[in-house]
Amino acid sequence: MAYAEQAETEALHEPKSFLTKYVWSQDHKVIAIQYSLTALFVGLIAIVLSGLMRIQIGFPGSLAFMDASTYYQAMTMHGMIMVIYLLTALFLGGFGNYLIPLMVGARDMVFPYVNMLSYWFYLLAVVVLLSSFFVPGGPTGSGWTLYPPQSISQGTPGVEWGIVLMLVSLAIFIVAATMGGLNYVTTVLQARTHGMTLFRMPLSVWGIFMASIMALLAFPALFVSAVMMLFDKLLGTSFFMPAIISLGQPLAHQGGSPILFQHLFWFFGHPEVYIVALPAFGLVSDLISTHARKNIFGYRMMVWAIIAIGVLSFVVWAHHMYVSGMNPYFGFFFAVTTLIIAVPTALKVYNWVLTLWRGDIHLTVPMLFALAFIVTFLVGGLTGLFLGNVIVDIPLSDTYFVVAHFHMVMGVAPVLVVFGGIYHWFPKVTGRMLNDTLGKLHFWITFLGTYAIFFPMHYLGFQGMPRRYYAYDNYAFIPQSAQELNAFITVIALTVGVSQLLFVFNLAWSVFKGRPAGSNPWGAASLEWQTPNTPPIHGNWGAKLPVVHRWAYDYSVPGIEQDFVPQTVSAEELEQMRQLSAGTTIAGVKP
């Protein structure tokens, strides 16, 4: 029996108690909210850490507690939290959980119990990570890449407890991500409703689906490196640790290969960029199409581009290691693959722009964020082309140019989509609209602010300002003008950081006081907006699952007065709509 038919015949076991409904919930929507709130919470911690770092860089010595160790600890935790515990968790655990079943017409994820476990393992990973702030020595300060031998050698902050907790937390996170990923992929493959073919799925689902597959294949690399480093740290093995003299004493390790760790880490690390980017690509495609009232340009091309990027992202990892002393032929290979992956990525950007072209663009808050994403991703992507070339990367590798690049492409751009996505789907989640004025204020401060922060960093990088230093005063090769620019960046960064409270306030206020949204405030065609209840109730669809007749992008269809056609509208119903529209027009003309 097909899933959709079976789902219609089975009784819905709606949770009754508060605990099973809101805490130990197996409902994908509740789990999505749990994931999202936890991710946003740790994200705020990471923003505070970045503020502390910026104060130190812009105004050295103004924070009494900020020494080199504290700075590196803040840097490490900021990077790891943002990449793993915020962006990955929010895109897959938050958006993935909420949108996949609703967008493919399922009642829930196919393994709801495992889905629930996934969230609680994620929360455990977060708790273990944050607990490192309170152990002797504090969290690890080895940089978010955790390169050995430094990360487990004396002299590095958090070498006793911090690094162990970080590695254990990562291992737990990977277990959580695997449980979630198995759910997302299997749900897409097996639980689509009547008529929902793969090539009728919204691009959001395609992006999250491909990112989940990549996560399932790439996270084991991080798991392997974390386990092997834990062995090196706790059991004294020498997987990664070479013979080394530390603080004047030879260590017991010998023969290990730090480069092996780098390969394993980046075999995870580069796909991780696209594990974050592909869901962003998908979500932004839906945002642009909906708010430009125009079908997405080149849907099939977009899908194949997502798949191509997913595959190619597994053969570019060593472009992060040009300065590790690799064989020049390897450098050539990875530079070529890096340039090749730009092709499907550029194709997506062209298609977004062509979707906008002559569209009926509504400058709503989600659309503003989507447009901002396109330009930000373009800027970050272009500097990626610079750095993908070995000869350019080597002089720039340890400068602020790299900091600017990866923050634009992997930090700001996906975060803009996160915001756009939340402004877009918040009405479906809560039944209320977010405040528009606050939203626009939040957008302009964030968008202009991030440019004011990261654009000058490109210039600082070209000037040769090295990254990873905790204080830039008293270095003869760093001019005073650079220091002034650093102070400027810090002021803007603090402003942007504080302005995120506008967003938090807007979320909290609008949940209770926001304007009622109705079931489909944006006039969107995709399935999640066609639920019988808003917010959707347990089981999503009532007695019968929806039947899908078309793709998710029928906007501004000629001859139809309503400027969108939901996926659930059949050919016959469409014909009726057409006749009705013709009648309306005639009736409108005659008087």
Binding site: A2, Y3, A4, E5, Q6, F111, G181, L182, V185, T186, Q190, A191, R192, T193, H194, G195, M196, T197, F199, L216, P220, A221, V224, V227, M228, F231, L235, G236, T237, S238, F239, A252, Q254, G255, G256, S257, L260, H263, L264, F267, N295, I296, F297, G298, Y299, R300, L354, T355, W357, R358, V548, H549, R550, W551, Y553, D554, V557, V565, S570, A571
Partner: protein, 230 residues
């Protein structure tokens, strides 16, 4: 130009034409619960394969360092790995028993299913105890985990493999508990099928690990050259 772009947008997409009759509205895509569970398990096995593939690549890369002391040298513990052969026999028996239970369940033969399933789990436990015994032998001979990277990998790989089997035994134990609660066989056949698939995979994986752990440095070198690691 405008019309060309619009035509491309419409023509390129299957659902883009609003005149086109939709396909697949009669039968929903997808499958029943067992099919879903089997897909989930297969995906999980892909993840496990990725995990061990990366462990093995790390193994090969590390084996090319000069401090590697092979475990297959004449006086080393794996010069004559007869204990590992005994353990392998237990795992093979475990898989046979589970396969027998799987086939009996398909024919709705309860007694044979229960016997096969329970025996499968017991043989798997024997395998795990055998592996632990090998670890004790290693320790007794002074081959500690940090003594040499070859030792480290032996403990690591056999340990991770054993943990996966232990996870399988938890699922096995839950199914045995349901047998004891007299849950009807048709409701348990999916669990039996999934256990059997998982066990067969772990047997195959064990033979790959066994072959690699007992190979000579020359074999490692050949693989390393093939992979561009040397």
């Amino acid at each position: 130009m405008s019309r060309l772009l619009l035509r491309n947008a419409d023509g390129a997409d299957p659902g883009g034409s609003w005149n086109r009759d939709p396909r697949g509205t009669e039968a929903g895509e997808g499958a029943d619960r067992y099919q879903i569970a089997r897909t989930g398990l297969r995906l999980f096995l892909v993840v496990v394969s990725s995990l061990f593939f990366l462990f093995l690549l790390a193994f090969i890369a590390r084996s090319q360092m000069t401090d590697w002391q092979p475990l297959t040298e004449p006086l080393a513990p794996l010069a004559n790995p007869w204990q590992l052969w005994v353990n392998s026999a237990f795992l093979v028996l475990s898989c046979i028993a589970l396969q027998w239970a799987r086939m009996a369940a398909r024919k709705a033969r309860l007694d044979a299913t229960v016997i096969g399933f329970v025996l499968g789990g017991l043989f798997a436990m024997a395998f795990l105890m055998g592996q632990f015994w090998v670890w004790q032998q290693f320790v007794a001979w002074g081959y500690f985990v940090a003594g040499n990277p070859a030792n480290s990998f032996f403990y690591l790989l056999t340990g991770v493999h054993g943990l996966h089997l232990l996870g399988g035994l938890i699922a096995w134990g839950r199914t045995v508990a349901k047998f004891l609660q007299r849950v009807p066989l048709p409701q348990l056949s999916a669990s039996i099928e999934l256990c059997a698939i998982y066990w067969h995979y772990l047997l195959g994986l064990w033979f790959v690990l066994f072959a690699l752990l007992t190979s000579t440095p020359q074999t490692y070198e050949a693989i390393a050259r093939l992979c561009g690691l040397r």
